[in-house]
Assembly symmetry: C2
Homo-oligomer: 301 residues x 2
């Protein structure tokens, strides 16, 4: 069994490659739930849904959000009615969210996601990191902002001064999945708002220390490949570089994968991490995704 | 001002005619809310939505439910996901229901409907009969059933032995609308599950006694024009005929309109009602709807 820790963009790209070269039944994916919230009366678990859609080949991989080719009839009508919906929820995507909201009430989030994964024909195990509601607040130069307000309404523009998030309990199976895996892959997701929330769950860091862990840096040079990771790292006084990322993982990491463009950082990284692998980490086509996945798997086996 | 008491099928047909010959600003429509309930996490106020769609020319007047030409992308996906939605909610219609559910939480149902009517460009006043949750249970030969289970799941087939519904308080403006109207029109809606719930609101019957009331019989011969009205009347031991309907309204009615086919009942009805008007009440085209509306308005003025 291989366990992957995932956020909503970089790691799903890697999952597209991984699921081509690893038997999906041998994959467990633990997914960040930090920014989950209710919109228009439905529970939006954005990273979980992105992983569900990625593993069922439904993902809109232009935006890494929602379903490819989805329509927006209800969303557009809500706008016409004057009741703007902050997130653009597609019509197929809304069915996922309606069902999840109803299943959650009965069974909790983790079981709801398990049922949905099965409905979607997914053979991998997808575990949301927690069944508990969490909360993230960004302290910015224009005041305290909810995560989605920062990301969508303010287009990630404000300066971020600090990030606060609530502590939640891990969902059943999270710690055991790590303990029972031959290796854990930390995908190139935002280390602050996607990976750190998983790492901060009780028992996770300890379990990672006893497992072979390979991580892919989401930072190349001094900027994130996608999303606001660099802004969040700066806010927490972490160097915006692969070295900064490695410092967050140094107590448990066994192999750190950085991009060819960062080859000059290899020596410095070797002070922190046992093994540093330099390769192409830009996954702009399926070939590149499979190559990176293969390099990771080769280092594990 | 003219006030109309409405359910979800017969009276909306009449409204299509009325709004062509009366200034919509002079119409107030009080709508039954007895069967309102939550489906897929949204509040479904079926009769209210039918009136909203009728007055904004959006109604699917094949089914008298939902929006003409609507798509069912989310609904069909919910079925694929194995989470059947008892009501077939269209994508445009779902936006109405999502917005209403959110507005209700803030402002209550009556204000939510007022905002939505304005959003839809409706100039008439639409008042749901109550802001309170109500409950209707049908005692049938196969056991106690929720209203929508009876209507949809069991296709109105079981024998109805009794009907129980909870008592609720009228929404603000219901009793005043009746008091301040030149006349009240009771449309050809189900007298048991659409009109009786409005009549049972505190102050309504008393207000009707002081107002000119004209009602249209939804029963021709010994059967209802649409829906399960005859079944419900039988269950309550009310004669399934225009005479039976008149007996429910006899303490306040001034003019009772029956269909040409019921002309033989005129004499018997004259024992109960001051004035009986015999005309075509089958509204199968706009001309017939306008004719019936005109006959009603002529009797008022």
């Amino acid at each position: 069994m291989i366990t992957v820790l995932s956020g909503g963009t970089g790691t799903p790209k890697l999952l597209q490659g991984l699921k081509e070269i690893v038997n999906p039944k041998d994959l467990t994916i633990i997914v960040n739930t930090l920014e989950n919230d209710y919109f228009s009366g439905v529970y939006v678990s954005a990273d979980v849904d992105t992983v569900l859609y990625t593993m069922s080949d439904m993902i809109n991989d232009e935006f890494w959000y929602g379903v490819k080719g989805d329509t927006f009839i209800t969303h557009e009508r809500l706008c016409e009615l004057g009741c703007q919906e902050l997130l653009r929820i597609g019509d197929i995507d809304r069915a996922t969210k309606i069902q999840k909201t109803q299943l959650m009430k009965k069974y909790g989030l983790a079981k709801a996601v398990e049922i949905q994964a099965e409905n979607m024909g997914i053979e991998s195990k997808i575990i949301p990191m927690s069944n508990e509601e969490s909360d993230i607040k960004l302290i910015t130069d224009i005041g305290e902002l909810e995560f989605h307000d920062f990301l969508i309404k303010h287009q990630s523009r404000p300066e971020v001064l600090d990030i606060k998030f609530s502590s939640v309990a891990p969902a059943d199976g999270v710690v055991d999945a790590i303990k029972n895996s031959e290796a854990v892959i930390i995908g190139p997701s935002n280390p602050i708002t996607s990976i750190s929330p998983i790492l901060s769950l009780e028992g996770v860091r300890e379990a990672l220390k006893d497992t072979y862990v390979v991580a892919v840096s989401p930072i190349i040079g001094s900027d994130s490949v996608s999303g606001p990771a660099s802004k969040f790292m700066k806010a927490l006084d972490i160097e915006v570089s692969s070295v900064g990322v490695a410092s967050l993982y140094e107590d448990f990491i066994d192999n750190f994968i950085i991009d060819d463009k960062d080859v000059d950082k290899k020596q410095q990284l070797n002070q922190i991490v046992n093994k540093v692998t330099v390769t192409n980490t830009i996954m702009n086509n399926l070939g590149a995704k499979k190559n990176l996945a293969q390099i990771i798997m080769d280092s594990i086996l």
